[in-house]
Symmetry: C2
Subunit: 321 residues, 2 copies
């Protein structure tokens, strides 16, 4: 083969390869598909890295929740957390947020009030958000009741008001999620959530695994929306004795990709027993078990042994331009 | 003296006595003075009886407050209590009120939010009561700040809304008082309080001893308004060691008449330490000391030894037609 032929073949090969790459990019862009790089790769890790966001929900709900969650955030094994703006202990967590600007704190957008003795209602007030409250003037107890009664415009105004109120108190949220999944209940609510999240350039807690039972999500999401690969969340079917084993097995079986692990932390004290009275699921003892596990040496060890790296929503959110 | 003369004299005497009684009644009515009988006598006791309303403030503020106050109400040594409608643990105390219709529960009308980590705001919502809230959207911390900023119409609407909201939740208040004395700050606010109280036919916590430093009160009050003879309230100048001695001396020195004794009950637990952090006055340990005293055998004994009878606001309120 002479040199001219070799140069010609190489030139053709380079041009074909460039054309192919261009076509792939164009194809991805025009079909609305996510870029071919995985979320883990976009975060700068190799494709086989196992990333985990250990996330404590419900901050602001009670002093017991705040105390336990702050303690767990500060041990380093809980990497992220989210705040319920309509709840009474918001000032405590807002002061913490201001004093700890690096803490990874999002907003746990709240449209339900599920306990009996301690309840809360809309930031907008009952009159401006009358479709969001029950006959006692608090948010509905169940997410399905809330979704069934709510005026979409009031729901949108309320979640915007929660974000504004958080900012007024000095909180700079790193992400959004939805207390009791109320905003994932149907397509219309999910569209509201995503619209508000995109405007605020904030990532939303979403899992690819949810698409099977909520097919509407894929029709709302675009290529720029961030979706975790999987979310781990303990369920009432797990007995107290199996608590550690459940989480340990989940970590051992973790696949490459980015996973969210949702925990609910509090101490099993009088305050929390009062909040969650007559409701063992997600109750005071449940939250103490979660706290005990995420602050345990066993959790630290299983994360190390399985090369799981903890990440935050702040790191993920940086991908949003 | 013959029989006719005797009959004439008796008839004249009876007529003169009737005329005098009529004139006295007319005089009292036209001059706007209180009826000559003391409050104690109007309640059916002899004029030298010592009556005491032992009253726990701040119900609904926190679970710790509710637990301690309910316990003290049920021991029998606290005879009355009042509820803060804007506070987070209102549902717990409303459920208690419904289950215990004989409990003497009034409303502790609330226009201030004095702690740092747990705060609350208007039942009306921030927009409809914007003059009542600070830049963080909660009631002002101090009663003087609240009084200085408030629009009187908003204050009146808010206290009416608190009464309505209590009724919606099944509370049938026996009396009214004012958290941190905000509604006793000036004549205009006091007029609002008395107007709303009279319309609702509810007695208001007032003491004759206050008239010296709030002379406007007498110009607002009429003959039908109920005023206690004295109110006992411990102050920050009393040391922890002198707590029992202070109350014991007050009871020993009690004069005939009707006295209110205001206590603030809670347990010195993590929740209450969190509520009252950096604020020892009326703080968690203070409230534990009050709880310890009002549930003590020493308190029971000193009441007995000094022939002090406990009464309720419900009994007092029955005098209002």
């Amino acid at each position: 083969m002479n040199e001219k032929l070799l140069a010609f073949i190489l030139t053709v090969a380079i041009l074909m390869s460039l054309a192919s790459a261009f076509a792939q990019t164009e194809n991805a862009r025009s079909s609305g598909q996510a870029p071919s790089k995985s979320l883990v790769e976009r975060l700068g890790y190799s494709a086989d890295q196992k990333l985990l966001i250990v996330h404590a929900d419900d901050l602001g709900m009670a002093h017991s929740v705040n105390r336990a969650s702050i303690k767990a955030l500060e041990t380093g094994l809980v990497s992220s957390s989210s705040i319920m703006v309509p709840c009474p202990w918001l000032p405590e967590i807002a002061a913490y947020a201001k004093a700890h600007p690096q803490a990874d704190l999002g907003l746990h957008l709240t449209l339900t009030s599920e306990w009996k003795q301690l309840r809360w209602g809309p930031v907008l007030g009952r009159e401006r958000a009358s479709s969001l409250v029950d006959s006692d003037g608090y948010f509905y107890s169940l997410e399905s009741e809330a979704a069934a009664h709510m005026d979409l415009r009031e729901a949108e105004s309320e979640i915007r008001a929660q974000i504004e109120r958080a900012k007024t108190l000095g909180i700079k949220p790193t992400h959004l999620d939805s207390h009791m999944g109320t905003l994932y209940q149907n397509k219309a609510l999910f569209e509201v959530l995503m619209k508000v999240a995109r405007e605020n350039k904030l990532p939303v807690r979403l899992s690819k695994e949810w698409f099977g039972r909520a097919a509407f999500m894929t029709s709302v999401l675009g290529p720029d929306d961030i979706v975790l690969d999987r979310i781990i969340s303990i369920e009432p079917t797990v007995t107290a004795e199996d608590w550690s084993r459940f989480y340990t097995e989940e970590i051992k079986n973790l696949q490459p990709g980015i996973t969210g692990m949702i925990v609910h932390l509090a101490y099993d004290d009088e305050e929390m027993k009062g909040v969650t009275s007559e409701h063992p699921n997600w109750g005071a003892a449940w939250r103490q078990r979660d706290f005990d596990f995420v602050t345990s040496e066993a959790f630290r060890r299983v994360l190390q042994e399985n090369q799981v790296k903890l990440v935050t929503w702040r790191e993920v959110g940086r991908l949003i331009k």
